[in-house]
Symmetry: D2
Subunit: 381 residues, 4 copies
């Protein structure tokens, strides 16, 4: 089985997602990174060339790369977009128009119009277009989703999702942090700061695990650090389509024991599930009136979707690279089988829903947190 030929846009020196995607893509040996436009800085050309076998396929600009690769018989088949947010749309559009499949970091675009255009384009060209909601790659997140669908929680009543970081607790964007600089600049990050960066992961998990859409939300966005242009601390109340309520708290200014403290608590009339990203192999299930049970990745009794995303036996921990690697593996499976089975939580529709969530939250926030109907997003479950 020959590897899928992968290209990358973004991800040069100092980037976070570039190396992460390269490692995740390598994990199962199903992809080969053959081309890239890793950086637009001329002095970075050498670095980029070192990442691939053929230095000639390291391009100074994504347009050059897409043009050249589209002409090659052995050109890239999938482009991973790991640039700052404002480039997601133009790069994805160019790739799709050149007939190349895409895995794009979230958020999918800067606004809903762009996002819908990309979704339509991918559909029209019948191209795979995935969005890197990494956390849906965790096996025990998939186990949670399977348990919900199997009715093991009963009728869902509520969900609380938190995402706690503190790396923006001080004005690091003013101090030379490249990561912080673009993520707090509306022109590069889009209208949502913390909301777009990590709040979207919360909404994606909420939707992916429960299988439910939100119908309305009330959002309170805050920029805690003086002078910051975008929100860095967000709380949102949501109503789901079945009448259940949900809450999201996403912050980048709250020092905590957890450093990337994404967790959820989802409950129905039969039981509740708790999961935390920093101990991803564990899912805790508490039936109403019974003892809590510790479910583990790699142990017996799990749903097929969790088993399929597992590489190691229980007790040999898997973690972040495997979660993102699972998205790559899902793509490879999808690719090979030429099936149309949807990617779990990482479809372009999930990306569009993420943007709709961001835009609705901003509308609500601007009307003093009034309950606001979710902007239609056309997610087919």
């Amino acid at each position: 089985m020959r590897p899928i030929r992968l290209g990358m846009v973004g991800g040069g020196a100092g980037a976070f997602f570039g190396p992460v995607h390269r490692t995740a893509a390598r994990l199962d040996g199903r992809f080969e990174l053959v081309a890239g436009a890793f950086s637009s800085r001329p002095e970075a050309a050498g670095e980029g060339a070192a990442l691939i076998a053929d230095a000639a396929r390291s391009y100074p600009h994504y347009r050059a790369m897409i043009e050249a690769e589209a002409r090659r018989e052995d050109g890239v088949e999938l482009i991973a977009i790991v640039t700052p947010n404002h480039l997601h749309y133009p790069v994805a559009k160019a790739a799709l128009e050149a007939g190349i499949a895409v895995l794009c970091e979230k958020p999918l675009a800067l606004d809903l119009e762009q996002a819908r255009e990309l979704a339509a384009l991918a559909s029209e060209r019948d191209l795979l277009f995935a969005v890197a909601y990494t956390y849906t790659g965790y096996p025990m997140v998939r186990q949670a989703a399977a348990m919900v669908r199997a009715g093991e929680l009963g009728t869902l009543r509520g969900a609380q999702i938190r995402y706690v970081q503190d790396w923006l607790a001080t004005p690091v964007e003013a101090g030379g942090s490249k990561q912080a600089a673009w993520r707090t600049d509306p022109r590069l990050a889009g209208p949502g700061g913390c909301l777009g960066d990590i709040g979207t992961h919360c909404y994606n998990l909420l939707h992916s695990v429960t299988g439910l859409n939100a119908v309305a939300l009330a959002a309170d966005l805050q920029a805690s650090v003086p002078g910051r242009a975008l929100d860095d601390d967000v709380q949102i109340m949501l109503r789901l389509e079945n009448g259940a309520r949900a809450g999201i708290w996403a912050t980048q200014v709250a020092p905590a024991v957890a450093k990337n403290g994404l967790d959820f608590h989802i409950y129905g009339d039969k039981g509740g599930l708790e999961w935390a990203q920093e101990a991803p192999d564990l899912l805790r299930f508490t039936p109403v009136g019974g003892n809590s049970v510790l479910m583990r990745r790699g142990a017996g009794g799990l749903h097929p979707a969790a088993v399929a995303a597992t590489r190691l036996p229980a007790g040999h921990p898997e973690a972040y690279f495997e979660a993102l690697g699972q998205l790559y593996r899902d793509i490879a499976e999808h690719w090979t089988q030429r099936s149309r089975a949807p990617l779990f939580g990482a479809r372009v529709a999930d990306g569009v829903a993420g943007i709709a969530f961001v835009e609705t939250a901003i509308v609500s926030s601007r009307s003093n947190g009034a309950w606001t109907a979710m902007i239609p997003q056309a997610i087919a479950n």
Copy 2:
């Protein structure tokens, strides 16, 4: 040092708070239970008599007790009110009017008018009137409050308080649970269900630890169990007087590993604090940019307020009885010294604030969760 003579109203067979208060009052040997109106059921008279030394001081009704005890030279000095909520007001009023000090379970009353009347009465008579916000008795909650006041967290930016239970996940009120029956009946519990029962603890902790009042809130109240008359799952967003934001999630229908899962995460521009009621001896402090530190009750380096509330060395766990016992000890200290030092988090003003919180949340909820200014509550910090 002779013990303070304690009377009790409520707390007969099948009650939760009665035995708990009796044990907590005994803990330090500073109180002697000498009289009670434990139950209005005639057949319970014997049970009540067995709880005290002189059976003649077990009364069938609180009015009889207050009248008789007020006439005795060795009559009760403090009455603990542990009845269902609707009796808090009349019993407290009768006690205060008879010149007897009061420790009342929360919520203080069924509405704000009652609450204010009681506060005024206590003030007028110059009588101690405490409200049993048990969780403020935990030493590490007091440590957290002291750290905030000492500036160790910097300027406060946010707080998230959760209180997760699941004992009302099914309609147990229809199945003979005495506890559930009155707590879900608006005539006995008041207008807030989960909101009044445990949401008030969240608000009390928020205020006690941060030292800040809320200025507005947006509340979403839900009755999850079909047919239930009062809310059982509550989420509320708040704005604090210094501009910080806070969130409260209180639920009685969410199965979880924690069974009485009250916890808080409070953070400022210098650091964050995390505490959870089921591991009450531990407070986790994370400075911005530094390693998390595990602070422990009984270990070195704590503020005097935490040290003063400690009975055992670190590693010999203290728990719920000691927390409530601390409220009793605070009262005894206050009493003996005839000082006017306020009780931490358990003053009548805290009780009034709790009712104001409940009423404001209900107003907001009835206007579809609109942001609503907190009803003035006159808390002096």
Copy 3:
């Protein structure tokens, strides 16, 4: 039900066990402290007198107390001995000879001869004689023992018990710590340091939970701190009567997250149990091949022995005072019913077994850790 009249020997200012026992005895209202010989220091007389109602019953010496109280019609019925170890034997002997029941701190005596004499004396006089193995008072320890006896673990294969402290990591005995001074002095503490102080708790838990005696052990005792006369770090391998193996590690010089880190892991061919003293409400059961289950004090499905030792519902934590309070309650139950039902893990036989364990370990250690048959101890299960 009138309270049992309690006397105390030891436990004056600066003592650890004195206040702890007084609080635990008060917890359920079943005892009244009426007399004491709290300290032999003349200047401490006042302090002692303040602890009881009748100052005349605060005695300067235990002999005076026993003599006087034995003559009173309302004299003490039970004496709690909370002195340094070397006084356990003479005080207990004097009490028993005067016909007074005893609750003695562990270790029961300085050597096996003394211990056996006390056991014989108690039996001869038909007096209750309990030993304060506090940790057996925890409900979930009793649940563990009940599960073992019910066969839920299958045939026992092994047990590992650890007890980790660090308060003797520096030579505090040279720096004025009264607690450290006597515990590291062979004349006051007996031949075992850490071994007698906390190692005996390990052996007691091992025996109480498994119901098995050790038949042989190999011990390695170490004095880590230069100049210390007694061991402060102990590891012991044991063989149990059914062929299972066990290990004990007890140390007072190992800094750890746990400050009084007593825990056990006991396993058979059907499942394993894990418990830790600093989170005493939780017992984790893992069946072979299955998911781990979190069992909680106060929740459903527990054995009667655990239920009977429970005061609060799940999630309202109980802790150290309740564990020791349970020993007092067991005594009160035993007393009232005039039954001969054995006290769980706290009988005089358990105390004798503890001394036999200490002596055998010292013999083994002196023969370079050779496997040594347990000195016969005549424990009837």
Copy 4:
């Protein structure tokens, strides 16, 4: 930088280590698997061929592979040996004799004579020979070792290492488990069962982190499951060269919350360190008399050795693949730089020490657990 050409012996269908090593080798893109003798079963030839690009380099036997590859200009440069234990020696010997470097799974050989021969051969031929002590690849294990060497724990006093599994709690070797079958067969696994399989990891961690050798040990080995030929539950007391004491408990029959429960507690006169393999990103440091500090992989303030082994920022968990991947990366670094810097904890000397540990433990066990001097092992630190 071209990848190092990797060959593999063992690791066909049903194997544990084969896929794990292939993934770990791929992780950083520094190795390319080009050849293998994955299985001696003829019917497995196709499976093996699918793992590499050139099916002709999938060999039916390791001898054929080594012979053919040694002749190729582009032949394998490093052979990963992931067979059952009894083949480690002949394969490693053949590889070294053909001038090919080796990464061998532990235990290095079936006996000390074989192990020493391999070490001598590697030295003589000046070939890299690494042993896959995977757990030394964890960054926080390296942090622990660096802290010890920097004196942050003071003079070491003790160490307790545990390794708890339960997968052999039933006689699975009789039920068709290929993994269990060879690991419980002395001809294939060698003289140590649990001792060799996981006990060696404990000893390796003990030595790697403390930097100290054991001078003597007393071992108690047990076969818990009836009919099992090799030990499955092992406890060992050790004395280290500086006078400190250590304990090892390794079991494959103890059901626990942890499924691969390797942990250590190492302490000196200044502080203690605790680490557990299932939460590998966390290292807990407790200074004598101070609060415990949670140190995290990827956070600030770590020693260079920990930083160098880190791929992701704190909160984005790394796990087992990264630990083994770190051994591969260490080899690649070593290779590229042609340095002679020793591999941390994974040198051939560590492998020899592991065998010496196993043999000494067996000698001790056969003399009824007598203290036995460690067989000399010539480890240069």
